[in-house]
């Protein structure tokens, strides 16, 4: 019994190639409750018709796959990315609605399903807004020009004198206006402009202005529907016992005992484990306990994460198998530099879980016509294709309804359990909701890998790095996804932005038995931790202020080797960090955090920065306090984010706050251990995460966008831990080089 580990592509490609809307009409609480509408049946499944641009009836205006305007004036917008809390169901419609000039309160959303029209619905990599920005403004602007052209004819005025606003075409000079509703028929007969003119930024009505989350009213009344909330007539509920050790096999189980549990209908053996199908979730869970499965653990039964850490450390003592970047000759420079000008340090980060609040689940209904799925997924297309392969169907015979996701963070890019739900429905002839328990979710996660990095630098007589070497060892996420882009494991390290004539970034993949997966900011988190802490160590060695040291090293010289370096496998663009944007966020963060104002004894400030995929730029300052007894308190995180054009500032600030909390868990608590081959922490009591009492003050500043929107979900994560660690050094003189930060390391 084994879990499929091989997937076809790396994440970047995966996300490039790659439902049912949820919620309900709310009437009542004024003001904040007003929000775009969704129509639902009693099962919480959208009854909205998907936008079909190939069908342009007289009574509707459907200029493209993203937009439909009814003869009533109702505007339907297709959302082609999954909502996992990052706010795409608000931000993406804002882009189209702004170009269109729509009335926000008359918008209906349809969640896209994989189809010939929507081949890629991939959601991840902080790319939803940046990828969809251009298509959505094009869709809105083209529709606007058609409505304006129709209105120009009716009003007998030049189109140039017309503008759209609140669902109307307005002629200010004559104080006349026409509703979109009255123009639907005429506009739908016009050709669709291929190169419409976009609004100027000073004409934006929604972009750049705070917009509350569209699904908010449904969430606060319990009507928002996630995968686990799908209810289909005749459905059953299933749990599955899976081997606790990767590639383990069933040794024995008690079928009769499970079937004796009231409400249990069937015990079904699947490739991934033994499933219990029951009348309700509780009966399924009880049935699984009664099953009393014993396992034959197999070859990975001895895997131990503490021993694995030692293996990674030993690996970084040697040169890496992949050279991700090289400039000059770092090895030679280090070898020829006297010991007093050499600095070395090892940085470590543990395995980590996603622990989405909604455990993994999928509802499937296999019928004579094919299969229908309901699930919260970041990759609806992959769910469709995987289930089609499993059942021997064509992909178009598998309909995927994308619900809201109760957290994603990369975990829901892979939905291996969708095939299990489909097989159970096929075998039992009924719709089945397969539910992973919380312990299942911890024990069968696709983990953030453990990382060990050894860093070496040689300093010149001024304290500047004449050599920088960053050696990384980890079980590669990309290894489970085809392994074609293993250099991605050095993200945050190979884009080292500081000036040094000799740079060497190395990587070695050390396999672990468990599945590794995409995680919020993935490799950037351990790599930026190592890089930004070590640069801090160099600053201290050269007796220079850490901010000043960074600024001195951020110059065009630092990028010289990128201009000529050949593209690496899996790399599509040259990694050229904008040192200007990095300097800008650093300087503003330092200013806002009062960097030069001294703190009380026991308090310290630390700074760290990064360019995220050379798209978004972040600097963060941490203010911490360490008591004499070694208690750490993070008092404040000041963030400056340059994520290009800001669509919804309210949403972006939420992403920064959420990113900081995600990073606090990683910095303070997150640590998945493996003992005897199995996950040793399978509850929130064992796997601690950040809570209300851990919260620092968060102050966030957004650089007004000079560039296209570039992503905000992951960029606020990686600099938090190094900023905290550097602040601890400022407060105590102690270097924290291993996460999570232990009390022992502060004494």
């Amino acid at each position: 019994m084994s879990m499929p580990r091989q997937h076809s592509t790396n994440r970047r490609d995966f996300l490039k190639v790659g439902g049912a809307a949820v919620g309900a009409l709310i009437i009542g609480i004024p003001s904040a409750m007003a929000a775009p509408l969704r129509r639902l049946d009693e099962n919480g499944v959208s009854t909205d018709t998907p936008v079909d641009a190939t069908h342009n009836a007289d009574d509707t205006f459907t200029p493209n796959e993203f937009l439909r305007i009814e003869a009533t004036g109702a505007v339907t917008i297709t959302v082609a990315r999954s909502e996992m809390g990052q706010g795409v169901r608000t931000a993406l419609p804002m882009i189209l609605a702004d170009e269109l000039g729509a009335d926000w309160n008359r918008i209906t959303l349809v969640q896209a399903s994989p189809s010939a029209t929507f081949k890629s619905l991939s959601t991840g990599g902080s790319m939803s807004v940046s990828d969809m920005y251009q298509p959505l403004r094009l869709a809105g602007a083209a529709a606007r020009e058609m409505l304006v052209a129709a209105a120009a004819t009716q009003l007998a005025v030049p189109a140039s004198e017309l503008r759209t606003k609140d669902g109307m075409v307005v002629h200010s000079a004559s104080n006349r206006s026409l509703t979109f509703a009255s123009l639907v028929g005429a506009a739908s007969k016009l050709p669709v402009p291929q190169t419409p003119l976009f609004k100027e930024p000073d004409e934006y009505t929604f972009i750049g202005k705070a917009q509350r989350r569209i699904d908010g009213p449904d969430i606060v009344t319990g009507k928002a529907r996630y995968g686990l909330d799908v209810r289909v007539p005749g459905m059953t509920f299933a749990a599955i016992a899976m081997p606790p050790v990767q590639d383990g096999k069933v040794a024995s189980f008690n079928r009769a005992a499970a079937l004796a549990v009231v409400g249990v209908r069937a015990v079904v053996e699947l490739p991934r484990g033994i499933a219990i199908v029951a009348d309700n979730t509780w009966a399924a869970f009880k049935g699984r306990t009664a099953l009393a499965v014993t396992w034959s653990d197999g070859e990975h039964a001895a895997f131990d994460s503490t021993q694995f850490r030692a293996k990674l450390r030993a690996t970084t003592a040697k040169s890496g198998t992949i050279i991700a970047r090289t400039a000059g000759d770092a090895d030679q420079t280090l070898a020829s530099t006297i010991a007093t000008r050499r600095i070395s340090a090892t940085y470590e980060s543990p395995f980590q879980a996603h622990a989405t609040m909604e455990p993994q689940n999928c509802t499937a209904h296999v019928s004579a016509n094919g299969c229908e799925l309901w699930l919260g997924t970041q990759e609806p297309g992959d769910a469709q294709q995987t289930v089609a392969r499993t059942l021997g169907l064509k992909p178009e015979q598998v309909k995927v309804n994308v619900t809201l996701l109760g957290g994603g963070f990369g975990r829901r890019i892979v939905n291996e359990y969708a095939s299990d739900a489909a097989l159970l429905s096929k075998q039992t002839g009924k719709p089945v909701q397969l539910v992973w328990s919380r312990p299942d979710d911890f024990a069968h996660d696709m983990y953030q890998p453990m990382f060990v990095a050894k860093l070496d630098a040689a300093l010149d007589k001024y304290g500047k790095p004449v050599a920088w070497r960053h050696r990384i060892a980890s079980p590669a996420v990309t290894a489970g996804f085809g392994g074609v882009a293993m250099e991605a494991e050095t993200l945050g390290a190979r884009d080292f932005p500081y000036a040094s004539p000799n740079i060497r970034i190395e990587y070695t993949h050390v396999p672990a038995p468990m599945a590794m997966g995409w995680w919020r900011a993935i490799q950037f988190v351990p790599n930026i931790f190592a890089r930004e802490c070590f640069i801090d160590e160099l600053a201290a060695a050269s007796k220079t202020d850490p901010l000043e040291y960074r600024l001195q090293l951020l110059n065009e010289q630092s990028q010289a080797d990128f201009a000529t370096a050949p593209l690496k496998p899996g790399q599509t663009t040259r990694e050229h960090v904008s040192v200007d944007r990095l300097r800008e966020v650093l300087l503003l963060a330092a200013k806002k955090a009062a960097w030069n104002v001294p703190l009380a004894k026991g308090h310290g400030r630390g700074i760290a920065c990064l360019s995220y995929d050379n798209r978004s730029y972040v600097a963060q300052v941490a203010d911490v306090e360490v008591t004499k007894s070694g208690q750490l308190r993070v008092n404040k995180i000041t963030t400056v984010l340059d994520a290009g054009l800001v669509i919804n500032p309210l949403g972006i600030v939420a992403q920064v706050e959420g990113g900081i909390v995600w990073a606090l868990t990683a910095a303070l608590y997150g640590d998945m251990r493996f003992e005897k081959g199995r996950a040793a922490r399978t509850s929130f009591a064992q796997y601690r995460v950040a809570a209300m009492r851990d919260m620092p003050v968060m102050e966030t500043h957004l650089i007004p966008g000079k560039f296209a929107p570039s992503g905000a979900g992951e960029p606020p994560v990686p600099a938090v831990a190094p900023a905290i660690a550097n602040a601890i050094f400022a407060a105590t003189g102690k270097r924290v080089r291993s996460l999570p930060i232990s009390a022992a390391s502060l004494l």
Partner: protein, 165 residues
């Protein structure tokens, strides 16, 4: 299988369920009220929080057989001024991200405001032990404080103010 009479959101409900079935699953699977969420099944995350006679309770830890004597309120309930103040404050502060944990957080917060109408930061830190992986804690804290004000204010002002970014 035994039958139980429950009072949920002011309505009598009769369910047939095993005595040890947690209230969480009775609400979700037997009564189809899916607003109350499953997060951990161990009373550790708070996603399943409901109110029993106004007190926040983790419904995954309460067998249905022990729930019959209480007035049960869930996120779907209506007509509760403190809960409505929380809802309005939640929207005005734009608290939710994925939203999955928020039903439990709101039910916990409304129960807190019932006993502690003007909670301090420390009281909020102690009362809100719910887990949110999206990281909405700072906005939850602001929303609780806003709800405290709204709950005391004359009804007309509820929901009248927006929030700047």
């Amino acid at each position: 299988m035994p039958r139980y009479s429950l009072s949920v959101n002011g309505k009598p409900q009769r369910v047939t369920a095993d005595a040890d079935t947690p209230l969480l699953w009775v609400l979700r699977d037997h009564l189809g009220m899916t607003g109350t969420k499953y997060g951990c099944g161990a009373g550790q995350c708070g996603a399943c929080t409901v109110q029993l006679n106004g007190t926040a309770t983790r419904s995954c830890q309460l067998p249905v057989s022990a729930a019959t004597t209480f007035k049960i309120a869930t996120i779907e309930s209506t007509g509760d001024a403190i809960l409505d103040a929380c809802r309005t404050a939640w929207l005005e502060e734009d608290v939710a991200q994925c939203g999955y944990c928020q039903a439990g957080v709101i039910m916990t917060s409304a129960a807190l405001l019932r006993t502690t109408p003007s909670p301090t930061d420390a009281q909020i830190d102690t009362a809100i032990t719910n887990i949110c992986r999206c990281g909405t804690y700072p906005r939850i804290k602001r929303a609780i404080k806003r709800a405290a004000v709204l709950a005391k204010a004359p009804k007309a002002s509820v929901g009248s103010e927006g929030r700047e970014s």
